[in-house]
């Protein structure tokens, strides 16, 4: 069809979940809700708050780096600020981001379910998330001040420093618990609550991404849980397991830390890759290229990604054998990642592309993520990595993959699903300008970091040699451009929320199930559990029976 949508008889619209009469009124209707959509939105609200806090910290760090010496803060403050920037961004925004907000909201909708498998545990995860977040913030102001170890909490410094590491670490521990419960919930939901006819290979690719992610959440997070617990025990009782003066081995800490924290990188990126695989077929108006390959490459990335943690420790003093093995495994991850990128590009090939705001974010993602991925290989190679370890090259690389990968798509998902979540449209022109500004600022900022790092600028220093000043200035100016793009984008969305016109049920011509219900959806998502008769991205024929009962009669 010309516009890619299929005419479906419009039913009498059910009351949307915002206005539905529940047991409770007012704020309690939100705080005690078990509706996955409300929980998703509560995550969104909290997360934006944390994101803006951490972004402000980042801007402050860049201001400090404007001149070679002390610009606006002391060395200790700088240490605390980069630690907190990392902890909040990673544990509160990037790791839970897409699964907690969009996974919660859209997983049941996309598989044609009424809710997740364990709605009350879902609410509990949100409270654990908030508790963890508050603990992280409180740790700033109590017992010796904010942690100054960096988000990795490396021993032995983290067991010696007088700053409030125990508190920050405990915050991360609580957040891990929240993450585990979400993972358990999603896997069970995907196994048990798919609509009739929705086989595994008919699931939208976002669901596949969430599925692979949930497995990593379950398999990796407990390891960081015990590791962080050991730091707390070490600081409180001095048990000595990581303390070299008592015979402990700090290297073992690094192993345990990265056994979780490397797979966590894939917790961040797999759901984002899922969203990309949703948005592309919608705007290319054709089926995604290589559905099964994309779906299975998510699992492949999850599996191989579990075994590459050692590449964070190439210069920590591990044996040559393990360095070679970890380097090889690291290169292997590039294969399923490459499969995805080629499939995305092939999806666009010969599609009738409609250029809308969400698509721009995805194209920006493919560009940014490819740079991030390829620079990852530079560090996966042993010889080059020794030169680049702990320089700005690393900082540039992980911002490209983490912020450029997950962050861009977080914003992209927000633009793609905004009409469905809020029932309103935003100004697309402004969104496109904001996205462009963001991408330009992003590249000015982080690409310059590659050059800085290559020339030898170490990370985590609050001052530097005068020869680096020009480049540092460029980075800081880039940060201003990027942040103004983000502010423009968010204010545009807020404006759309308040003043935007009413969104149709399917503004983009999407083919997955969430577009088949009203915007915003009713409490129980669908009037009847739909029946699925085909793949998720079929544009030229009807693949859903929305009212199987009525039609059978």
């Amino acid at each position: 069809m010309a516009n890619g949508t299929i005419a479906i008889p419009i039913e009498e619209a059910a009351v949307d979940f915002y206005h539905a009469e529940g047991k409770r009124k007012g704020i309690l209707a939100w705080l005690l809700t078990t509706d996955h959509k409300r929980i998703g939105l509560m995550y969104l609200a909290a997360m934006m708050l944390f994101f803006l806090t951490a972004m402000t910290l980042g801007v402050l760090m860049r201001l400090e780096m404007l001149t070679p010496n002390n610009t606006i803060m002391s060395a200790t403050t700088y240490n605390s600020i980069f630690t907190l920037h990392g902890v909040i961004m990673i544990f509160l925004f990037i790791i839970p981001g897409i699964p907690a907000v969009f996974g919660n909201f859209f997983l049941p909708l996309q598989i044609g379910a009424k809710d997740v498998a364990f709605p009350r545990i879902n609410l509990m995860s949100w409270y654990l998330y908030i508790t963890g977040g508050l603990l992280a913030i409180i740790s700033l102001f109590t017992f010796g001040g904010a942690a100054d170890t960096g988000w990795t909490f490396y021993v032995p410094y983290s067991i010696r420093t007088t700053s409030n590491v125990s508190f920050t670490v405990f915050a991360a521990f609580v957040l891990g618990f929240s993450s585990i419960l979400t993972g358990v919930n999603f896997i069970t939901t995907i196994h048990r609550l798919r609509a009739p006819g929705m086989t595994f290979f008919r699931m939208p690719l976002f669901v596949w991404g969430l599925y692979a992610t949930a497995w990593i959440q379950i398999l990796a997070t407990p390891v960081i849980g015990i590791t962080l617990l050991l730091i707390i025990l070490e600081r409180t009782f001095g048990i000595g397991i990581f303390d070299p003066t008592l015979g402990g081995d700090p290297l073992l800490y690094q192993h345990l830390f990265w056994i979780y924290s490397h797979p966590a990188v894939y917790i961040m990126i797999l759901p984002a890759m899922g969203v990309v695989s949703e948005i592309l077929p919608t705007f290319a108006r054709k089926d995604v290229f290589g559905y099964k390959q994309i779906a299975l490459s998510s699992l492949a990335i999850a599996m191989i990604g579990y075994l590459v943690w050692g590449h964070h420790m190439f210069s920590s003093g591990i044996s040559d054998t393990s360095r070679v093995v970890f380097s090889l495994l690291t290169f292997l991850v590039a294969i399923p990642s490459g499969v995805k990128v080629f499939n995305w590009v092939a999806t666009l090939y010969k599609g009738s592309i409609e250029f809308r705001a969400p698509l721009l974010f995805v194209l920006a993602f493919i560009f940014i993520f490819s740079i991030g991925g390829l620079t990852g290989l530079v560090q996966g190679a042993l010889s080059t990595d020794i030169h680049l370890t702990d320089t700005y090259f690393i900082v540039g690389h992980f911002h490209y993959v983490m912020f450029g990968g997950m962050g861009t798509i977080f914003f992209g998902s927000l633009h793609y699903w905004f009409p469905k979540m809020f029932g309103k449209m935003y100004n697309e022109k402004v969104a496109i300008i904001a996205c462009t500004t963001f991408v330009i600022g992003f590249n000015i900022m982080y690409f310059t970091m590659f050059i800085l790092g290559y020339e030898g600028m170490p990370r985590r220093y609050y001052s530097y040699l005068p020869q680096f000043q020009t480049l540092h200035r460029i980075v800081t100016v880039g940060s201003w451009i990027m942040v103004s793009g983000i502010i423009l984008m968010l204010s545009n969305l807020v404006r759309g929320l308040i003043k935007g016109e009413k969104a149709p049920d399917n503004p983009w011509g999407g083919t997955t199930l969430e577009w088949r219900t009203s915007s915003p959806p009713p409490v129980e998502n669908f009037e009847e559990i739909p029946l699925v008769t085909g793949g998720p991205y079929v544009h030229d024929r009807e693949t859903y029976v929305m009212h199987p009962d009525k039609e059978a009669r």
Partner: protein, 216 residues
């Protein structure tokens, strides 16, 4: 509509899938197994540390292991294994509708857990009296291998003890539910899940016992 749709449609109608299923026993069991997997991995990190340090300090570990009382350890193993049996029997009892028997068996499980903890308390207490605790006077003079051994011993058995307590809380809750007739012979998944958790606590102990008490 294509043929496939009709096939699935007919099937779905006969199964009455349009009705919202409020209880999904298979689903909640699946959730529990996944949760147990995370618990295993939590202890997995500790077992990894144990293996590394045992490899690094074989002599220190041997010297330290002699200090533990194998008799109390063996007794605790028997107690926990028996309690695993009683919790398994309680599920069978509830399935057969023998509510009273089920309640007695659950009380017995709780009692075993308590006895286990009391034994553990005395075991730790004696060690503390001898100054064998982190930064304690006796432990400070021991070799690094012994310090590592006791560090791991306290963390792993302590963490296991916390799990015993958590398991007892779960069992107390389902016990109350059984008494109030909330759990019956047709609706026993919660009891089954608590039982699974108890078995996990048991299994972890089965590994802790030889690693700390038996290998000299």
């Amino acid at each position: 509509m294509n043929q496939e749709a009709e096939a699935v449609l007919g099937q779905s109608l006969s199964e009455d899938t349009h009705e919202h299923v409020h209880r999904d026993d298979i689903g909640s069991r699946m959730g529990m197994w996944l949760f147990l997997l995370t618990e295993l991995l939590l202890f997995g990190g500790m077992f990894l540390l144990y293996a590394s340090y045992r490899f690094l300090y074989p002599d220190g570990f041997r010297a330290a292991a002699i200090e533990l009382n194998t008799f109390i350890g063996a007794m605790n193993t028997i107690i926990l294994l028996t309690s695993s049996l009683s919790v398994a029997l309680s599920i069978a009892a509830l399935q057969k509708g023998q509510k009273k028997l089920c309640i007695y068996l659950l009380y017995f499980t709780l009692l075993s857990g308590l006895v286990f903890l009391i034994n553990k308390y005395f075991e730790w207490g004696t060690k503390f009296q001898h100054g064998i605790y982190p930064k304690g006077p006796a432990l400070e003079n021991m070799s690094q291998g012994q310090i590592m051994y006791f560090g791991l011993y306290y963390v792993m058995t302590g963490l296991h003890g916390l799990h015993v307590i958590a398991g007892m809380v779960f069992i107390s809750i389902v016990l109350a539910l059984v008494i109030k007739n909330k759990l019956t012979s047709t609706n026993y998944t919660k009891l089954e899940n608590s039982g699974l958790y108890w078995h996990l606590v048991d299994i972890i102990w089965i590994f802790l016992f030889p690693l700390f008490y038996l290998i000299h």
